[in-house]
Amino acid sequence: MRHLAAIASREIKLGFRNPWAYSFMALFALFSLALLLIQSQAGLDGYTSTTGTMMNLILYLLPLMTMLLGSFALTSEKEEGGWRLLSSFSLRTHSYIWGKYFGLAAVLLVIVAFGFGLSGIAGVFFGQGFALAGYGRLLLFSALIVLLFLGLSVLMGSICRNRWQALTYGVGVWFFLILGWPTILIAGLGFLPYVWIKPALVALIFVNPAELNRLFFVVKMGGGSVLGPEYYRWVEWIERPAGSLIFAIVCLAWIVAYVESAAWLWERGRRRE
């Protein structure tokens, strides 16, 4: 546990030394401000065009940012020999990877909070402020996106050998999960027998943290009926308080699964050296 905390605090230190973190912070802050200024009169109460657009822009930017920062933090240790040095101490791979995860999570959450803080303040001065509930909901949405994709990026970092490879993988996975997702699914599912399509579609949502998160928040904002009669039971189920709890458990399981498999891969690599 002490090792884990040490690694995490080292990661935070490294994170804020990294110019990438600041450029992403600036980019996200700029984005939040731009969104604030172009938001229409629709407001953030419930599911409106503004909340829909905000969620989409968060989904374009945050996963890519998270995957690049996360996987670079791990591959740079391989490239620059940081890990070689650390592995000469009696440090468990497990503590190391989880330490990395928590440290990176802290850095990324600070980046998100910075952007939100800035737009929260600026909103009042530009006379286009948000209501607290909507603001908090989007903040929570962003934080969850960061935490889920960080799990994915840690796994990616332990698979990739160097930063170039991580960059390629990161952009590829981002394209697959965010931009190409509907296209790939609609094309791919066409090959399945008709009755399998919907179950496959639902199962695949749990594979993609971006869609899982987005749909959960759309339903929580009262937009569930837009998904149509096919998802009536799902929507009803998510709307209940127990829905949030189960969603939280799914998210947690997602993170644990990815970070644990990253640790396992990393440990295997360590034994082979």
């Binding site: 030394r17 065009s49 948000f130």
Partner: protein, 443 residues
């Protein structure tokens, strides 16, 4: 165990017994009082007393209460049936214990009656008109009883005000809550429905096969559908306001199905699943409507020759969708997601606004794909199918500024907590960056 179960059943049965039956013994039978009243006279029911239905009115009398007399009814007949013309019912309270949705509390079979200020509580129907013309139904309140807080299925409720084959009636200022359809018109021509309020029901206002109905200045909230107009010609739907018809997967603000040559103007649909849903309808004029913060603003299927003018589409997640619909004219509407260009300064954009039917087409072919509603990857897919835009829904000269201003005023008072939250977040970030970023790296 068996004794316990039997006891439990007995308790449940006792609880479910209609309670007013106990007092019904003391209730004064209404029919003899009515029979004793001469035509043209008024029967005054005393406040605080309970009268027992069912009763039939066969002479042109007035029945009113000098406060709030209660008429209770439990049998299989309506509490009050009007058979004579020119009857007045005023300021009564009717508690109907019937549960058959086909049975009303008040049944009108005659003409030129006036029902005013009557409060009806029932799990069956409210006021039903059958072959009854020229009646006035004003300022009544009809409330569907709830079964101990539980929601009763729509199909087990009766309609609030239900007209069949009845012409030229006026329905004004009524409140209809937790019923099946608030106001239901079937084969009833020239009905005037104004300033009513319908909530928590299936359809707020449901008009079918009726000529020239007028739906003016009504409001609806949290119904499955606010105003539903079906198989009608020459309807006027003006100045209505439908808010939050969004819970049900079939919800919409105003639904037009098989509607022709009708005027739909100055309505406001806000926060519904679909604002305006238009199917198989032709040659209607939709002008000066406000379509705000709906999930889908306008959805049009197989409809042609309609005119959409000077309306506002703002804050809708999807502004409009349309398939198999041609020759509809859109002009001078305001679309808040559109950045137009007004070169000659006439207030209208020189660039046209176009709407991609891709998503509606996709989900029509396979409904579960609705899960991709507003998915971030969807615009990317839509872009790839931009080949033929000739049959898209297109507004040739969109309005540059919203035509209605009052909706833009959002309260500012609630924004201060957000400022505080923003300041806290921002301050926390700066402290963290300074403490772990700057200072540790410069020690």
């Amino acid at each position: 165990m068996a004794v316990k179960a039997a006891l439990a059943i007995a308790i449940v049965m006792a609880a479910s017994l209609p309670q007013p039956f106990a007092s019904a013994k003391e209730a004064v039978p209404l029919q003899p009082l009515i029979d004793r009243t001469v035509a043209g006279e008024t029967l005054v029911l005393e406040s605080g007393w309970t009268y027992a239905g069912p009763a039939v009115v066969r002479r042109a009398i007035a029945i009113r209460s000098d406060g709030e007399a209660i008429v209770e009814n439990g049998g299989a007949l309506p509490a009050i049936t009007l058979e004579a013309d020119g009857v007045v019912l005023k300021d009564l309270r009717i508690r109907d214990l019937q549960k058959d949705p086909k049975q009303p509390a008040v049944l009108v079979l005659s003409d030129r009656n006036r029902i005013e200020g009557v409060r009806i509580e029932t799990r069956a129907g409210g006021i039903y008109l059958r072959n009854a013309d020229d009646n006035e139904i004003r300022n009544n309140r009809i409330e569907g009883a709830s079964a101990g807080g539980r929601k009763i299925a729509y199909s087990k409720r009766g309609n609030g005000i239900d007209l069949l084959a009845s012409a030229r009636n006026v329905i004004e200022g009524n409140e209809l809550v937790r019923v099946h359809d608030g106001v239901y018109l079937e084969s009833s021509n020239e009905t005037l429905v104004t300033n009513n309020f319908a909530a928590d029901s299936r359809y707020g206002y449901h008009i079918m096969f009726s000529g020239k109905p007028q739906l003016l200045g009504n409001a609806g909230e949290r119904n499955v559908t606010g105003g539903m107009v079906m198989s009608v010609e020459g309807a006027i739907v003006r100045g209505n306001r439908f808010v939050k018809q969004s819970e049900n997967v079939n919800s919409q603000g105003i639904l037009l199905y098989d509607v022709h040559r009708s005027e739909i103007s100055r309505n406001r649909v806000e926060g519904n699943r679909v604002g305006f849903y238009i199917e198989n309808s032709t040659e209607n004029s939709l002008t000066d409507n406000e379509t705000i913060r709906n999930f889908v603003g306008l959805q049009m299927i197989r409809s042609t020759g309609n005119l959409f003018r000077h309306s506002e589409f703002a804050g809708n997640v999807i502004q409009a969708q349309s398939t198999d619909s041609e020759d509809n004219r859109f002009e001078g509407n305001y679309w808040d997601d559109f950045a137009g260009l007004d070169a000659n300064g006439d207030g209208y954009s020189d660039l046209s606004y176009e709407i991609d039917p891709f998503f509606l087409q996709l989900t029509k072919d396979f409904e579960p794909f609705q899960i991709f509603f507003q998915s971030p990857g969807l615009p990317f897919l839509e872009q790839m199918f931009h080949a033929d835009t000739a049959r898209w829904l297109k507004d040739a000269r969109p309005l540059m500024e919203p035509p209605f201003r009052e909706s833009a005023e959002a309260g500012f008072g609630g924004r201060w907590p957000t400022l505080l939250a923003g300041l806290l977040l921002f301050a926390a970030c700066l402290i963290i960056i300074y403490r772990w970023g700057y200072r540790q790296n410069h020690e």
